[in-house]
Symmetry: C7
Subunit: 276 residues, 7 copies
């Protein structure tokens, strides 16, 4: 084996390396834009189907394209290194350790973003809706990729990491139930009380536009320890349920007062015995 051979060999290996690089670049040039197009298209498809606002779409698209670009560039560089036999083992090992660290320490962050992504996409909550998430109760102020802000009714601003949001209770999607339980005395006539309730309810049905359905008395809900509990139920406009319940209570109390139906205090039968 003389010097010519070494040159020849070197040339050969350079040629093959060149070929590989060429192939790699071609692969890159093909794969990179295709991926981008797929992402853009599928996002836009999602959009057309689900009527998501333009701004929201752009946020999601940018996020996805960013992730895609970083990944593809990382792979391209790593492969290039591999072709020239520059040891990339350490690079990968370092990345692996970093990966572990991320995996353990920052998995919450990834989890936040994944959940946030679906909160936006599936429109589970919108700004200005009244929701219960992760044990917090209030009006949504902002939905971010990492954190959701909810304003409690007492004025507190809750910052909720999206990962903590699992079951979402959205109280702003449709009519709400107004429910009033009212106790009458065991001595009162049930039918009479139900008639009075019906009258009050009919009045609300005619004159109160907040009620979409009902209100109507249902009947004997329970035997309390001192009263027979009657229940009235109706469907109201969203967020109107509390005011409607308050008015319903006031009217029922006044009607019962007029008709002499008692809302009884707790009762106790006292059996008196002389002290020993």
């Amino acid at each position: 084996m003389d010097i010519l051979d070494t040159i020849q060999e070197s040339l050969g290996s350079i040629l093959t390396a060149g070929l590989k690089v060429l192939l790699l670049i071609i692969a890159y040039l093909i794969v990179a834009p295709i991926g981008k197009k797929i992402i853009s298209k599928s996002i836009r498809n999602v959009k057309r189907k689900d009527n998501i606002t333009e701004g929201r779409i752009k946020t999601l698209e940018k996020l996805l394209l960013n992730i895609y670009s970083y990944t593809i560039i990382f792979l391209f560089v790593a492969m290039l290194f591999g072709i020239f036999n520059i040891p990339i083992g350490p690079l990968l090992a370092g990345a692996g350790i970093l990966g572990l660290a991320i995996g353990f320490g920052a998995q919450g962050l990834v989890s936040d973003i994944v959940t946030g992504f679906f909160l936006l996409l599936e429109k589970q909550i919108e700004v200005d809706e009244y929701v219960t998430v992760a044990g917090f109760n209030g009006i949504v102020e902002e939905i971010g990729l990492r954190t959701t802000k909810v304003r409690g009714f007492d004025g507190t601003l809750h910052f909720i990491p999206n990962r903590d949001i699992s079951g979402v209770s959205n109280h702003s999607r449709g009519t709400m139930r107004a429910l009033v339980d009212i106790g009458i005395s065991y001595g009162d006539n049930i039918d009479h009380a139900l008639e009075v309730l019906q009258k009050v309810c009919d009045d609300f049905k005619e004159n109160d536009t907040r009620f979409k359905d009902g209100p109507d008395p249902l009947g004997v809900q329970a035997f309390g320890s001192s009263d027979v509990v009657l229940r009235v139920i109706g469907q109201t406009e969203n967020m109107m349920q509390w005011a409607a319940e308050r008015d319903l209570r006031k009217k029922i109390k006044e009607a019962f007062d007029q008709e002499g139906i008692e809302i009884p205090y707790p009762h106790q039968v006292n059996v008196t015995k002389e002290s020993k």
Copy 2:
């Protein structure tokens, strides 16, 4: 070793590479469609057996075929790279890190889809059924692969990630129990009270088609602190249990009033002592 040799060698390696590629393509052409057929067939078998609707079958089939296709293409490309000695280590390492990230951050997502898949397949819940899942109570509005929507009775719309659904309580699968507990005074005659209850129950049996079985009085359920508790039980049509219970309560109260059987208030024996 001269140039001819190198050419020969190259030719040899090209030939073997070509052979491998051929073998690979053949393998691909055989495996790919077979897999697809197996998936389609097994899905359709499931369908015939379990009477799942056509639409649902198609959703599941599409999902499975998608996953299958992406997997098989990924493997094909990776093997091709391997044959031409383009280093795919970095590719795999990248995929591995991504895999870890997915594993940690988005495992919930996989878990959602797996659970959703079985919810659809095993028909544990259907739209318009009354269920209790993951602590939420209400009527099912939609069952998705990721999220299930349940409408609470107070009007709230609950979004439940499928992963949170473990034990499912379905209240819309068969007759429901109507149960009324009623206390009578310790002074009253138990046999008399049971006779009265039996009369009321017989009336319901004859005239109320909501009751599928019973109602019937069972006997002395408990000694309360101030009353002897009697229990009445019956089986009603689904979702009719609450109305039936309400009517049962009203009739029992009226029958007891007529017969002079007292539903007692809490009692207390007062032993009076003079102050020291």
Copy 3:
């Protein structure tokens, strides 16, 4: 090195490859059926010992043979690839990523099947038994490999993933205890009350075939704030305990009424003081 050499070499490597394939096939032909036989036999052994029904045995056998076949075929194909130097790294890497995904997302599924397997094998619960599992209470309707269905007494059908079943409380395996606690006044004679209770119990012992053992009064269980609590215990036929308790309560109440033994209301000593 000339062409003859290459041919010779190729022949050599083909020969060794052929030899390896042969060895592999022989190994496969030996291992595969042996494994199957071992599985079948051990299942059938289990059967003879534990008196499991034929249908159940077949389900388990089919499941195990399926898993075994897929595993052995996967290994055979992978080894074949290995012999012909078709890079199977990617294949395995793909399988590994899939494995991770399964591990994280679908581990619940594996867990379901393992638990279901042992539920069937150890006969912890049977259809139509009354059990408490995973916080659900009711009659078992179906035991599947993935899900167990329990019908609650209120008519609800509970779907319980087997993984959620840890401690199983089976209420249908033997006689059940009937227990009645009854309070008597602090002024009453304890011995007298115990005699009356003994009389009632003796009556049940003679005439009520539901009781397998007892009932018998035990003595003074506790000093209540207003009563001395006596306890009666007996063993009844399975599922008869509630009816037996109800009858026991009724008879004790009637016997106490006859004998003038009071079941006391809550007592309070009132010390009256003039207002300041």
Copy 4:
């Protein structure tokens, strides 16, 4: 390089392979029986020290030898494959994936067996003992490697996976405490009441063989809202504590009745005011 060389080479490699196989077999023949003997001996040592029954020892020995044999055979086969250069990578990869699956899905099973092993070895619970494990209360019916069966006092049979057993409370290992708390009126003389209690206790000490130590009155345990609480404590034979407490209560009540010491009802001072 001509054909002779190849033959020579082949012969050489065959020879070295043969040598390796020989070495392997020798190693196997040495390691296998030694391991078995070590296992048997250490088990038997455990036995002599801890007085475990012969049957139990055999169960444990068989289990350990089984695990050992499967492991050693697996290793032998894998090494043989390795010597003949049959790629065992896939085999191991397959085993690895299986291992992961086991690790995730069936780790509970391994955990069951490990805990069961120690339950047997350390004799924490025995059949017919009264124990509290994993929140279940009752008499042990069977201790298995996977499941422990406990019969509750109400007749329910609890199946408890051994993994759920952490802290074990064994109520059948030694004398048990009988404890009676008794309230006397604030007006009564404490010394007098303690004397009466002492008399009752002395009577039990002399005549009741169930008491191993005591009973004795301890003194003023607490100031209740309406009574001064005195405590009596004694040590009884195992499982006799409840009956002893019941008899103690009865005797104390009778002695107090005789001596005119009142067990007071809840007291309340009533300050009467005229209504506004």
Copy 5:
């Protein structure tokens, strides 16, 4: 192959090594400053957008640059070792074990820093704000990368590891609600009481600058067991809600006293029976 060859070969390998080192150094010189610039720029961008104070920005920038430098130097050294074929396997293995140890033992630390980073960046809490985090309640004293200090109202200083902070409730971001519930007798006229409340509220609206909105009476909030509950709500300056509520309570009490509206005590109906 003679000595010249070896020298040639060595030279060749030295040359290629030199080339690799050169390439590596160039790569380092290009990558290192670019990374730093990217970090600095993105931090400054964040700053301009979110108005974070200069000091905070510097802390974050320094932290990020430190992490980046250590990573890039580690990679550079490891690659250098790799080029000279000094085995770096052990180095990496050691790093791996260390990584595991960190992963398990100190993952909390990484988690602390990640959460702390976002607490600073997203300005969820600021020093001197009144917050509820991780179950602790009080005024923020310091926000560190690892620990946040909160001073409770009772004087206690709480050290909270940032990892424990998930949902943050910040009570210092906007007006707060003042809420007073007041019970009136069932006998009182509701309209009259509401008028009196309105008068009191109007007085506050005019004269009390702490109220930003309201206060106003809402109506009948609930039927209590002895009173009809009315609710008054208003919005006050931050941290003024408690003082405002206290004054509101005092004024309402005085107004009700003047108008003769009773805030009722608990009521009970006593049915007297003669002792048996």
Copy 6:
């Protein structure tokens, strides 16, 4: 290459192998005893510092030397195999799978031993001490490497796996607090009551050797709903606190009786109203 070459080569490889074995053996002979000495010495150092009993030291030393020996032998054998090129991959893979199995199934065991080791070393609990660990309360009967036995005061023997022991509350390390809360009437003079308490306490200080410090009255601890609560505190010998409290209660009651200070019953102001 002829036969001589092969022989030469073989000889060379045998020589190098021999050299490696030699080096390995030397390394083993150096490392093994050094490790043992380090372990023994550090244990004995620990002993001298912390006054641990000889028996306990031997147990720990034996445990550590065992673990060390098994590890070093395993490594020696594995390296030997490696030198002779017997594939140890499978061995390691097997060990790895076993390691995983141990990791998942038996990690509790390792955790038990580690915690047990520190319980012994740090002397957190000793036999015959009164402790609260893992929710169990009682006297320590035995501290093992895997399990700790605690005898409850009711006679139950608790077996607690060491892994469940985290926070240990040791009630046998120093003087214990005796605390008595006593309520006096709102009408009584506080200063007078405190003087009486002081007198009782002084008496105990002089005559009762169980008290190491105090007892002393502290002042008005709380305003109860019917009484003003005064608190008395003292320090007693270990395990004497309950008896001391009992005697303290008795003496205080007697002193209050003498001085006419009332321990009040619950009070209620009754406002009587005529029924409607």
Copy 7:
């Protein structure tokens, strides 16, 4: 290839090995002391900034240097083995398995030390401070790297593994709040009661040096069911809050007695009805 060649080759490999060893030793000699200096310096920097005592600094420094030394020696030996081609795979595998075992079984230990390190460094708690950690309440007796000892107020000594310490509540860092809630009758004049409270508070302000700020009455804190609750708040020296509250209570009670302001008992309005 003849013997000369082999010798040449051997020489060559020995030379390269020697070169590598040289390079390694140089690297070691450079890296080892630099690392030590960095550790020492950064610790001392920490010290100067945070005023940590000399003894504590030395403990931390020694711990860190130990860990560093063991790590660097392990790496050096492993690399040396690597250069001489002694297979270190098994060594690493063994270390890996050990690492796993440590990772699973003893991760708590690492976690203890990490937390302990920060407890010392951040001075969250000091000996003799009154703290609440991990649910335990008391005075710190010792802070170790593994365990912290807290003496409860009842005399119990709590051993708390540092890993259980997350949120630390330190009650010894600054003035503490003294808070007294006092109820007055609904009939009393609120202004009058507040004046009396102010007078008492002023007296404390002037004469009681324990109060650093206040005390002052705040106003009407709540409407109780039978009383109007007034609140008094002040800031006292650390650990003086309880004694100060006790004195405050006594003085308020005496002032209210003088001024005839009633602390009311629970009230109830009794509506009497004749028995049916």
